[in-house]
Symmetry: C3
Subunit: 437 residues, 3 copies
């Protein structure tokens, strides 16, 4: 029998970490605004919902954080007074790393005593010429995917660095709102005349627009109760008629039928236009309506990918990179990706994007899902400065898993482990989200 003694893997871990840190990244999901991709002041950093919601949860009233009219410096001053309660969080570690990597910060914590000089140092850097490009270069990032509203013009930025992605939540879940239908009519130029045909034509026009402007993915976030299924023409027309008459006062069942019909149409269009359809499964919006901006959503972890059985079977040629909100769903994601050719694992999302959940979820994927079907990570960042610390958190964990489990337990060479890391971090992003043009 072979030996089973655990090797000391700290050296392997360091070697792997250095190697995968040298990989130039394409970040396959962010909320970056390509017109203002980087921060202008530290308030853009500390105003990120991860900080406002945590500081609020730790005791600061929402009114203090969101008081109308306060300037960026005052917001940062207030937020800094709440940071002491969240120094243990992964999110705070991102903040410290941003300050250290980009703003020459060397202290151990951001405090009422040192924040102002940090604020000034950051502002000076941010106001320098080409700050966004500086951040991209220092972060070793080649390109980031965007999250574009369906009526985004997609003009005025370089789509090889800022890659469009068609976000479809509004279309699927909010078509009962007259303003959403109005936006769709205006941007598509297709009058919605009450027929399913006009609705589909408008959606198709959007795919044309997005693909021709460099889009490489369609995406949606989905509540845990949603079950995508085909809705036949009769039922769909009924639902559409009803919703057009009642708008947001529609019956739940009718609105849900229309949601499922639109969703299905989007999947058909992904098929037709060669776009992957990113599914981000599991969020309940507005669970805590008194929370800070973007800090109101939570979830019911009782969701199953079995709800997507019909979808995955119906669209074998559409790639579905799937993100799950709760770690408990990760094993299903691993198993469905193991069986369905068109299901892929995609990143570590939101409430599962902290080290211990990433560690267990990534380990389970790396040992069971075909290596060409794993999108390791995306930052979900709103500002470019966050790409570095988030990816670095992931890289540290990936190095740990590769060193401990693949080099240590499986006897792999470091080079083999690095190749696996490279494939999931970058190679698969290029392959899965290649341009459909």
């Amino acid at each position: 029998m072979a030996s089973s003694a655990a090797r000391d893997t700290s050296s392997a871990r360091e070697t792997i970490y250095q190697a995968i840190s040298a990989i130039r990244l394409v970040d396959p999901h962010t909320h970056i605004n390509p017109h203002t991709p980087a921060s202008s002041t530290l308030a853009d950093i500390l105003g990120y919902h991860y900080y406002t919601e945590l500081v609020h949860s730790a005791g600061m009233p929402r009114q203090e954080i969101e008081e109308p009219g306060i300037g960026p410096r005052e917001l940062v001053r207030r937020m800094v007074h709440g940071l002491g309660n969240i120094t243990n969080t992964a999110n705070y570690h991102w903040l410290l790393q941003i300050c250290r990597e980009f703003f020459d910060f060397n202290d151990d914590a951001i405090t009422p005593d040192n924040w102002e000089s940090l604020y000034d140092a950051a502002e000076e850097k941010m106001n320098g010429a080409g700050w966004a490009q500086t951040v991209l270069d220092q972060s070793n990032v080649e390109a980031v995917f965007l999250t574009n509203d369906f009526d985004d013009e997609l003009e005025g930025f370089d789509s090889s660095t800022y890659i469009p992605c068609l976000r479809t939540d509004d279309l699927v879940f909010h078509l009962a709102k007259p303003e959403v239908r109005g936006r769709l009519e205006r941007c598509s130029g297709v009058p919605l005349d009450g027929t399913l045909g006009s609705l589909r034509a408008a959606l198709e026009q959007r795919f044309e627009h997005f693909v021709s402007h460099g889009a490489r993915a369609c995406a949606i976030s989905i509540p845990p109760t949603f079950q995508p299924t085909m809705v036949d023409d009769g039922a769909a027309q009924n639902a559409l008629d009803h919703v057009l008459r009642h708008d947001t006062g529609s019956e739940d069942a009718q609105r849900d039928a229309l949601s499922r019909r639109v969703f299905w149409t989007l999947a058909e269009l992904c098929d037709q236009y060669g776009l992957p359809f990113d599914l981000m499964i599991g969020v309940n919006r507005g669970v805590y309506p008194s929370g800070v901006y973007q800090g109101q959503d939570l979830y019911d972890s009782r969701v199953s990918l079995i709800q997507y059985k019909e979808l995955f079977n119906a669209f074998p040629k559409v790639k579905f990179p799937v993100s799950v909100l709760a770690s408990v769903t990760n094993q299903e994601l691993v198993s469905y990706s193991w069986i369905f050719p068109n299901v892929l694992t995609n990143g570590h999302w939101w409430y599962s994007n902290t080290p211990s959940f990433i560690h267990r979820d990534a380990a389970a994927r790396l040992e069971a899902v075909p290596r060409n079907k794993q999108i390791a990570y995306y930052s979900d960042a709103y500002k470019l400065e966050f790409v570095l610390p988030k990816f670095d958190m992931y890289r540290r964990i990936l190095s740990r898993v590769l060193a401990d489990e693949f080099v240590g337990e499986n006897g792999w060479s470091e080079e083999k482990a690095i190749q696996l890391g490279r494939q999931v971090l970058r190679g698969n992003v290029d392959e899965v989200f290649r341009s459909p043009l």
Copy 2:
């Protein structure tokens, strides 16, 4: 890029462990009887349901364990014959540690050959003067919270060491039993005249009584199906009328409505009286009715904190320290505590109180929940001797997480890690459960 090599954290772990072991504890949830807080014989130790149920599960008939009339020595003799099957369990490790720390036991196991001298040694110690205080001192424990029936007189003990806590399961889930209503009338002095007003008055009298006697928390354990919501006066009066007519023969829906109304009233009274409301979520009672005493309860892990959405929103000023029975619910607990200011993480309860579940659950909390919102641990002990081994199990795991993840991965100093440990182990207990008077 910084180094990612894992540091050898065994020295940090030892340092942290020693430091947090020196913290004088307040145990925020036990079932200690303040009139007989410590054990009288080893039968009080081995009669704990963790041992009787495990030994029964491993093969010993319930009748052998619960035969009426057997004395404490005979019970211990019988139990010892079953211990060989459970030497692997965490619960057995608590037992060994109790015997070593308190009874000068030095053997590797408790066996049919050595139990009797252990029994005698323990009995001699327990019969010594001030045994309870000796245990408290040797365990470095300043105070323990109790679990008091709503009609407890709360007299005859020192409430600075034995802190009252109003347990409300009977009120919420068993008001259909005439004897429960009778107890409530007698202890409150409020005649229940069939009106909601009299019911509320009786409950309020109990809060007066408990708070004036030093209570610092209200608590309840809840089945996985329960969903607390407001029941309006009309529906509540209907439910009360029905339950008063039919007692335990009431319809489920009516009894459930009354449960939800009483629960809501308790939350209002917690608000009014400034008491935290400990929620212990997820237990199904009596799943194995042929099991030994207190060894009959299990659970359905398919529960979600989304069921508490309305409650958490309705009572922003009430602190809800939440315990979850199954580890799968821990991520929701982390996320809800991350978002809701009034939701806190509380201990590692029952079936999740074994090392591997504690390890993963504690790690997830420490990296994501504001540090001032985590109640690290409580013993749930019935006798004082159990506080030490249970807290010590937790301290070892906490040291491991702090050393590995905070010192090792995050680069924290040992001192910073110890401060975090101190805050979750003791500081937050003082803050969250401070006297409302």
Copy 3:
């Protein structure tokens, strides 16, 4: 206070691993065909659904893998071209270990360049005299449990090496198919005359047949929605009447009632004949009907053992070794085995049979379930060659848990840890599945 420094456990791990690798195994669940227990060519290895489904999921069309008429060499050639995408998987590691242990393979990977010599080397070994016995001996395996259809004659093999097990999925879930009822009539010799009595007589005859031929267990795999409950004679006769009239066109509720009645009858017969009833809980069949053979099943992880409450209470003398498909159910399994004397933990099944899930699930069991109630592992193998690498994967993880948690954290001696390993790996298999004769 005792020290909490983590010991270096690599030496303990190696010692434990060597010791438990020397244990002669009885594999308590396989799908081995006792008439052709070992492989004839490498196609029997690479044709295992774990490889065909993964290679298919990674991109190879099903038609290429399952083209009618292709020979074993051609199948292997094709499969090898897909292996590059699954080199990271645990299943691929099994494959490499098989080739190294049995076929003198020394390369790092199976590639288009080296597969043919491997194929030839394997074929030569497999065609040698007594290959099956060679594999058993080299794998240190004394016996394997089979999975026999209810109408298996159980003749022509040595039932001390190949131990029969009555698989009952067809009886419980497919009795609506006339061919299943026909098979039951023919093999039992009992005409199914439409009465419950004749159905029970036929089932009882099967128990007679199996037990007299050396069977030591009854087994079934169960979808997540199934809830076994007693169906009284009236309802059961109604269901049987309906199903006999409508066959597979029966109403779901009637078919389900019949399923529950047959299941209950099997439990009664397990009681009567002294057979353990292996429950493998949680699989949804045919979720991906376009998948390769045996690569179509997935699951909904939202299942609870509370569904088995009535069963576990009704049959206290029947041992239920329980396997769960999803790791999230493992904690319930641990808790139910901790409380119910007749519930045992059994192996690491299918999608939970990869290292990270085994590690966490095994650790949770070892620390909480009585040691005499844990069946550590089974291979689920279709060919004997797979017993070795699967058990070896498990042994490595078991050594890791025993060394890290029991020797390292609990201070156990290596010898004590080895004894625990021996009990769960072999001792309990002998005890739980002892011959009922």
